[in-house]
């Protein structure tokens, strides 16, 4: 079996702007850092990968083509820039939503309780103890960000996409969150695609997808991997 985990080949997202990636491969448990100035199309690229925008070209995860799959079938966890938590649910319900909709909570009370306890434990880890039943409207920006990260990781996706995950977090929480993400990626053997400002955090990314401005029409944004 090839050790290529994620492969993008002539991949193109056609949204308000067109975003192109000619070639990019990543091994399992690798970090891909997307780096480009504001307005270049980082979020469009991420939305494309998550299956939320029309797209063409090759996108493979563990050898499986994803281009034509819907968002719910792609096995990708996304932490959105604006969190996009569900305001009609509590913090805890948001965290286990991914498992809930996949029927993983099941009907057996013991199993359900165990999974909910696990979610609570993760919330404790990120400093969200006693915020289980808090309504989303009552959470601070930093708390929302951590809930969003837990929501995207708790159901154990194969690829984790982070859109500015450390925005609005203070240094201590930032470190704690980063450690959590690192451990999660190592334990679950997932690949992580991360968009963040260079000043946000220093990461040792295996691959850097960098936006280049020359040689394309004005509506096309091109990302190039530094280690093709």
């Amino acid at each position: 079996m090839s050790d290529v985990f994620l492969k993008l080949e002539n991949y193109q997202v056609n949204a308000a702007i067109t975003v192109k990636v000619e070639h990019c491969v990543a091994k399992v448990h690798s970090w891909i850092h997307v780096d480009a100035p504001s307005g270049f199309g980082k979020t469009t690229l991420i939305r494309g990968l998550a299956g939320l925008e029309p797209q063409v070209g090759g996108l493979e995860l563990e050898g499986r083509t994803l281009t034509h799959l819907q968002a719910r079938d792609r096995q990708m966890g996304v932490v959105f820039q604006d969190h996009l938590l569900f305001p009609s649910m509590t913090a805890l319900e948001n965290v286990y939503y991914g498992r809930w909709v996949r029927g993983q909570l099941g009907f057996r009370r013991e199993k359900k309780n165990a999974l909910i306890q696990e979610a609570k434990h993760l919330m404790d880890l990120l400093g969200l103890k006693d915020r289980y039943d808090a309504p989303i409207q009552g959470l601070s920006g930093g708390e929302r960000q951590r809930i969003a990260i837990l929501r995207a990781t708790y159901w154990k996706p194969k690829l984790l996409i982070l859109d500015e995950p450390f925005k609005g977090l203070d240094d201590q929480i930032k470190l704690k969150t980063f450690d959590y993400l690192k451990d999660f990626a190592a334990n679950e053997q997932v690949c992580v695609i991360c968009v963040s400002h260079p000043t946000d955090f220093k990461m040792n990314a295996e691959v850097r997808l960098q936006g280049i401005t020359s040689g394309e029409p004005s509506h096309v944004r091109k990302f190039v991997a530094d280690r093709p």
């Binding site: 939305r47 998550a50 299956g51 939320l52 819907q70 968002a71 719910r72 079938d73 792609r74 990708m76 966890g77 996304v78 959105f80 604006d82 996009l84 938590l85 569900f86 305001p87 009609s88 649910m89 509590t90 939503y97 991914g98 809930w100 909709v101 996949r102 039943d133 309504p135 409207q137 009552g138 929501r151 995207a152 159901w155």
Partner: protein
């Protein structure tokens, strides 16, 4: 709070108004009823077979119609939500106008539809009444649900999809949870409208035994033998049912849902795009309306009784609109927590209470004014206060640092923000006031017969042509009001 301060005087005015509007009528009413409260006679009346039969009958037709309105309204809302924004906006506007039309128009529409469909045997039964309620109230319900759906962030749906949610899961966990509190409130409002519906039941139900609580209250006091305790027993059931439904709705919502803002109002922002075309259409509608009304009025010397009725309606509507808004502001700054009182009272019982208290004054238009202000004040408060609560504190502080007084700062910063909504509410109150029958009918005697009551009386006397003419004028006036309101907003 210092005696003599602005807040002090506001509270005094608010307290005085509430005593005048609610306190004195309630006192006289209780005094009158207590004359018959001996040996538990009144309690026996409340639980008498006749009253219980009426309660069950009203509940039965209300639940049946409410169920149909609920399902049809939800389906209509989701259907409109699936349309493209421009088409959705146009449909929403048409439905908003349709819902504002007077209930007598829906009586006319239902009669016409049933005749066309060959279902004349449904007339003068509860079936026709229920059809009319469904036609009239489904757009209101659908507009409320649509407003909530449009407030949902579509990106949340996308986020749910990335987490693996299927369409049915999204429906259950996001859409339903979002609309549930609003649907509860809307259902209560629909029940209130059904319980207090008067003209529809009288004209399409055909009278006894097709009575609801509201019409039975009227029957209890309209003849020579005025049975006040009887009317009060019926009114108690009406209030208990509405309060009970409200409590059930609150229990049905989870704690998280109750923390979300509840959208009591259905009116969305009316379309203001393509201003030129839109304003042109509105001017044409208003102009045609005025021309048609002028033609009808000029066909008779001095306008005839129709013109007199219309003038009386206009005076009453203008007075109710202005006074309700002034009192809404006074209550907001004075006695806010009491502004919701009276929201579950029926217009008929309010009329009776005011009649008991101020009957000797013999100024029917003033008594109608008092009843309608008491009736509309809670609804205006619910629509206006959330808007007033979203204060621009920083801007007001900035104005004060520049030398503005509290009042001047409020007038500079907040008033321009709330003014368009205030104008819109003023038009709606006027429109509803003109169409009101049950809060006016008891006071209509001699020369005082506002247009809605005049039209209802024509229908009751089987003078259909005259009745239709009255309804036509009511509809035209409503359309002119809506056109003026939207024109101002778009300008």
């Amino acid at each position: 709070m210092h005696p003599g301060s602005a807040r002090f005087w506001t509270r005094i005015v608010a307290a005085g108004s509430s005593v005048f509007l609610f306190g004195i009528p309630l006192f006289f009413w209780l005094k009158r009823c207590s004359e018959n409260w001996t040996d538990f006679q009144f309690l026996k009346l409340v639980y008498s077979p006749f009253v219980l039969h009426l309660v069950m009958q009203t509940m039965g037709v209300a639940v049946q119609s409410g169920g149909v309105i609920f399902i049809a309204g939800l389906a209509m809302a989701f259907l409109i939500y699936s349309f493209k924004p421009r088409l959705r906006m146009a449909i929403r506007f048409l439905l908003s106008v349709f819902w504002l039309l007077p209930s007598l128009f829906f009586v006319w529409l239902t009669r016409g539809l049933l005749k066309q469909a060959g279902l004349e045997q449904w007339l003068y039964r509860f079936s026709a009444v229920q059809v009319c309620w469904v036609i009239g109230f489904t757009p209101y319900f659908a507009l409320g649900v649509l407003r909530i759906l449009e407030d949902l962030d579509p990106r949340e749906i996308e986020a749910a999809k990335t987490l693996g949610a299927s369409a049915s899961w999204i429906g259950r966990t996001l859409y339903w949870r979002a609309i549930r509190p609003g649907v509860g409130v809307l259902s209560i409002q629909i029940f209130w409208l059904i319980f207090t519906s008067f003209s529809v039941v009288v004209l399409l139900g055909g009278g006894s035994p097709q009575d609801t609580l509201e019409t039975a209250i009227y029957q209890a006091v309209r003849f020579d033998e005025v049975r006040v305790d009887h009317a009060f027993a019926l009114a108690i059931w009406q209030v208990v049912l509405l309060l009970g439904l409200t409590q059930i709705q609150k229990l049905g919502c989870s704690r998280v849902n109750q923390m979300q803002p509840i959208h009591g109002a259905v009116w969305g922002t009316l379309p203001v795009k393509r201003k030129g075309i839109f304003q042109g259409i509105l001017i044409i509608i208003s102009g045609l309306g005025v021309a048609m009304m002028a033609k009808i009025f000029l066909s008779e010397p001095a306008g005839g009784p129709l013109f007199q009725s219309w003038l009386q309606s206009c005076f009453l509507a203008a007075g109710v609109s202005g006074l309700t808004l002034i009192l809404a502001f006074v209550f907001y700054f004075g006695l806010r927590r009491f502004s919701d009182w009276g929201a579950y009272c029926s217009p008929m019982i309010l009329s009776l209470m005011v009649w008991e208290a101020y009957g000797a004054a013999s100024f029917p238009i003033l008594l109608c004014l008092v009843v309608q202000v008491a009736l509309f004040l809670p609804w205006v408060s619910r629509n206006l206060y959330p808007l007033l609560d979203r204060k621009r504190i920083a801007e007001q502080e900035a104005a004060r640092t520049l030398g503005a007084t509290n009042l001047k700062a409020w007038l500079t910063v907040e008033w321009p923000r709330v003014l368009p909504e205030v104008k819109k509410i003023a038009v709606w109150i006027s429109v509803f006031s003109m169409a009101e029958v049950s809060s006016v009918i008891l006071f209509s005697r001699g020369q005082f017969e506002p247009l809605a009551v005049w039209s209802q009386n024509q229908f009751a006397r089987f003078q259909w042509q005259e009745g239709y003419l009255g309804v036509e004028i009511l509809v035209l006036t409503t359309l002119i009001g809506v056109a003026v309101s939207v024109y101002q907003e778009s300008a």
